[in-house]
Amino acid sequence: MAELIQILVSGLAAGSIYALAAVGFTLLWQASQTINFAQGEFVMLPAFFVLVGMNFLGLALWPAVFFALILSLLILGLAFKKLIVEPMLPHGTLPLVIATIALGLLMKESVKEFYGATAQPFPAVFPQKVYNVLGASVSVQDIGNLLVSMLAILGLQLFLSRTRTGRCMQASAQNPQVAEILGVDVKKMVLYTFLINAALATIASVLISPVYLAKFSNGETLGLVAFIAAIVGGFNQIRGALVGGLLIGVIDNLSAVYISAQYRSAVPMLLLIAIILFRPQGLLGTPEGRSV
């Protein structure tokens, strides 16, 4: 029992961070029909912004996190949209996808060049306390990661469904032409989407780096797992990405303990194949029709 609780807590804590990155995939897909293959690097980079703030500017942790958030909004939100997405989108989805792959490589190599190839220590954002719950060791860090991720995603859901701006963003995602006719500033709504993605990436980065350490290559695994989570949950639904992330986190831990550590990364892949074969829209996604 204690073992199962431990697996669930660890799996949900890791899965909630995957979910944050997976939501980014769904947001950008809805806003610009783009799959951002640099999403993993989007999660990797803000941790280094925090370290720059702390180690080069002498900031304390939370001011450095705020500094990282501002830089992320500017670089991963505004600049990404203006310099990559807008010029590439008229040429079709495929060139844009390739551009995001190139962007991911550029970000990875730049961090390696600037900050080094070795992992960097990253300060914990929660107290390092551990509580005993029915025989399982439950850390404040795991619970904190889970809570913050859930709050961020639920807050986003509420923002999109309960506010005027949020509904305008949804309208722009569903049918930009009609939204424009109805007076929605579609360009601004798309920009908001990119900024929200940058903010979520920053939160994910700050939560995961104390565990994974800050390293230029962190985005490789994160990006892949988040991509799988988004497909499993449903690429066009935020709640789908949430479910996909949590599911992958728990399945990964369960398979590592009860099946085999060597094949742990194969199990989410099997789930991905099963979803594509039997429910292509994902667990909570809705089917999308396209004219060709």
Binding site: E3, Q6, I7, S10, G11, A14, G116, A117, T118, A119, Q120, P121, Q128, V130, N132, S137, S139, Q141, D142, P210, V211, Y212, L213, K215, S217, N218, T221, D252, N253, A256, V257, A261, Q262, R264, S265
Partner: protein
Amino acid sequence: MHRNFIGATAMALALATTPLAAAELKVGSIVELSGPGAAAGVNFRDGVKMGFEEINAAGGVLGDPVRITEYDSQTDPQVSRAMVQKAIDDGVHVIAGTVFSSSTVVNMIVARRAGIPQFTGSEAPSITGMGNPYIFRSAFGSQKGIPKMARYMAEEMGVKKVAVVWANTEFGKGGYSAFKAEAANHGLEIVADIPTEQAQSDFSADVLKAKTSAADALFVYLTEEESARFLREARKQNIGKPMVGETTLIGHKVIELAGEAAEGAMGHVGLTPDADIPAMTDMVERFKKRFDYTPDHNAIKGFTTAHVIRCVAELVGSPDSQAIADKMHGLTLTVEECPGVLMDVSWDDTGEMSRESFFVEVKDGKQVVRAILPPN
């Protein structure tokens, strides 16, 4: 007449300069200055650099300053091979490096073919097992460290059952096999066998398996970054069992990365800047002043390598590569005759080295020596 004078002068100059040129010792420092091995390589390079700077300031070797040329292997075995060839083409007498075993096993073939002695920082057992008469260790191979550690676990710590967490790579398999054999020799029962993947980030399942096993202690054989992640997760899950490993579990980089989670971890190290040896402490202080960071064991390897090269070249009386290689086999250098080696050290016919080593525990972010282990 005029032409004869010029010819005679040229010949006289050539004769006069030849012995001088032959006495100048040229060393190629070939290490991982970029790529994933940069942390280890830069430490080794700086150790070599400081060693020769001090030697040159004191008059050099055989009356001449040593000329060091640095080459970057980029942590790439094929690049390292090309760099060794380049150094040989540049006329070096001796090579210092590389540190990463995967590079050394490839590039040592080139140095061997050219008859150039090579002082490596690598610790993979296979390096001195290939019958290469030109390869020499600057720290002993892991096959020498693990028996010392297994004995310490069984006899001093009273461990009976052990969980083994190891990296499923060439590096990890070597350590795992060596530990498995030694565990059998010392009556340690392996109750949990936990292989992990290269560059693994999430160790929650692995820590859980080790925690719920019947082990009295863990033997952890992962790379430095993986060790740091493992230690952080172990602390998160309150593992409550002693964790023992090699330099890769309790090295200074791991302590920096794992922070408080490294507290209490124990392990065997060939060299440690925290050893209570005055010559070592003094070297560490000079290094900190020179490079503005705390050296790790790789820096000490580099520093002692510079002094070994000096002492051997002076023993043979020339920078002759073959004579240096021949002299190294079966050589013992004591601190009295060669103070820069910091501790008495010997090499056997395979180039493997033997020296006292340390069993340390991490306390307050430092390695605290619990026992000095005799040479084997």
